[in-house]
Symmetry: C2
Subunit: 335 residues, 2 copies
DNA sequence: CACAACCTTGCAACCGATTGCATTGTTGAA
DNA sequence: TTCAACAATGCAATCGGTTGCAAGGTTGTG
């Protein structure tokens, strides 16, 4: 059944039906309700494709998610934070009457984005995890405005970002670990990822300022490690590198680190104090419960969605930081 | 730039351009390559909305994912298996040139599906987790054929499913735990979920057949528990209920159970042997590494996608089981 | 050479909504 | 009573591709 059929039933033109269903003031309140009732009664559903075509929109936002596959194409150790964010984004977009088109980067050529926006398959794009894509994003943003990225603000960037204050996060972690008496600190994270590096910078600067003679090492864990750093951490401690405090750039990494340490008979928090980042919902239930930097998904999703809609409507929008706070739990041995 | 512009540049009609870009045999090899070259040169991209409209398709498959929110709308304890599957589905769909429209159930009215397929926003739908939706799905499937569900085959169902052999899985777990000498078995799972119940049925039947006097209890963990059963398991052991073997209906539950037991000073596997289900990628790296039933996401995604395309093309398709095998690791204390 | 058969291309209708403008009907003021 | 102003509705063009059918051009055969 199409609109003209419904128009026939209602005894009006399809223009009127179109306006009635769109709640236009041009058509009488009475006619409007009558037509809506008829539409419901006869189970009329508007053809979304026709409307999208004519109105030159898709009511869809593309969300690009980092999911590196290893060489065998096996499922990766994906950050649960991504899934939580995805859920939050779906909720926010639904409120705005938009759908969420899911795409993973990894097997997609980076030109995916260009292809995608130029075929007008989506009205805007949200990217989770800028990672190593900063340069490509920066270039694409030059001629595609409806782009918002979850991640770190970078110097001279052409796109807008929403993210926690990574530098502050690193600072908070450093202060806390030092306060707990740690002397030999280690950072576990991906050194090619801007977010991760800003966290490290805040961590390092703070440590060097407060307790200059503190030992500070790095375990560089690139994304392609399917085990989330398990092996790297094991190797690190088996090499007898000293460590009494560990800052992991994500809760996923922190969790794997705890498992690796435990398998080496090292106790958390008594031997090594650990802090994660993301405050994923399961961090509260880990053993020991994980101290972490909170990044509120719901707030983040709201801001990401608001900004992408601002851009779609031709309005200005600025990069923004979301609240960033340390959540102290058992893994750093307080009380 | 639209197709007619490109046609003008090429000095042909837009019909020819359309055919050339669609690789139609009706147009000379030579003209085809020439037009494609021109298209690339001038950066022409076809308007996806126009094509979708005219061809009456969307090149998009809706994927409905279970993500229960608790009453405060906080992010749920989502099964990592879902995310792995989502990634695998994205890969499979990309191979077929389709996009993946993501939707979560929870805040969506169950009529979402109906709304969705009737507005022709997607060409087909894949549902992950049939859970408590069996009846609704069964009704919708009556007049919407392009529907495939990941889950358990049910008596008199109108939709097709792809899933592991849950009964067999439960049986394998029972055999293994009994073989390891367990006498007091517990099942941890959601008793309203068909998959879960089939796993339990296989487990129970096998236990009762092989060692009739084995004690067998159930911890009923509905989805709305945000902690994945952590509290329930803690309470269970604190009530001094005896247990030396636990079958958790998912790896997520198993992981939380291990954490809960550890916090009660109960050792895995020496005090309690544990088996999970799903064989998520992280189960290998848990401490102890988790014995689990393998469900291969890639194979599952392939079958789900194949079947939904079969339905779209009006072909027949049958429900199917994917290979189901026990992966033995440390959590059941072998060697 | 004439004509059939075929290959390549173009014409124009069509998909199902939306929307600018014209038209009809109604109200109120002069 | 007449006509302007306005409210409600209809007409028809339009969005940008796809495709059935017609038309033009070429080749081959009798």
């Amino acid at each position: 059944m199409k609109m003209s059929d419904l128009a026939k039933i209602a005894g009006v033109s399809k223009s009127t039906v179109s306006r009635a269903l769109a709640n236009s003031e041009l058509v009488t309140e009475e006619t409007r309700t009558r037509i809506k009732a008829l539409a419901k009664e006869h189970g009329y559903r508007m053809d979304a494709r026709a409307r999208n075509f004519r109105k030159r929109e898709t009511l869809t936002i593309g969300v690009l998610v980092p999911m590196p596959s290893n060489s065998q194409g096996e499922p990766p150790a994906t950050n649960p934070f991504v899934l939580e964010m995805l859920g939050a984004l779906a909720d926010e977009l639904e409120k705005k009457g938009h759908e969420l088109l899911f795409a993973k980067h990894s097997n997609r050529d980076p030109s995916w984005l260009r292809e995608f926006v130029e075929t007008r398959s989506v009205d805007g794009v949200i990217i989770l995890g800028q990672n190593i894509y900063h340069d490509i994003l920066n270039e694409i943003a030059l001629d595609y405005p409806n782009l918002v990225v979850w991640g770190a603000r970078m110097p001279e960037q052409n796109y807008i970002t929403v993210g926690s204050d990574n530098y502050l996060g690193g600072k908070l972690v450093a202060e806390h670990l030092l306060q707990q008496g740690c002397k030999q600190l280690t950072f576990l994270g991906n050194t090619t990822c801007p977010e991760s590096m800003q966290r490290f910078a805040g961590f390092k600067d703070t440590v060097e300022t407060l307790v200059p003679d503190t030992e500070l090492n790095v375990i560089d864990c690139r994304e392609n490690h399917n085990d989330g750093g398990y092996r790297l951490v094991s190797e690190y401690v088996q090499a007898n590198k000293p460590m009494d405090g560990l800052f992991a750039a994500s809760d996923l990494l922190a969790n794997r680190a705890i498992q690796a340490l435990r398998s080496c008979q090292i106790k958390v928090p008594s031997d090594v104090r650990i802090v994660g980042y993301d405050n994923i919902s399961s961090s509260e239930f880990m053993t020991p419960a994980l101290t972490s930097i909170n990044q509120n998904c719901r707030i983040a999703a709201q801001k990401l969605v608001d900004k992408v809609f601002a851009r779609i409507n031709g309005k200005q929008a600025e990069s923004e930081l979301i609240p960033t706070a340390l959540i102290i739990r058992e893994s750093t041995g307080v009380n």
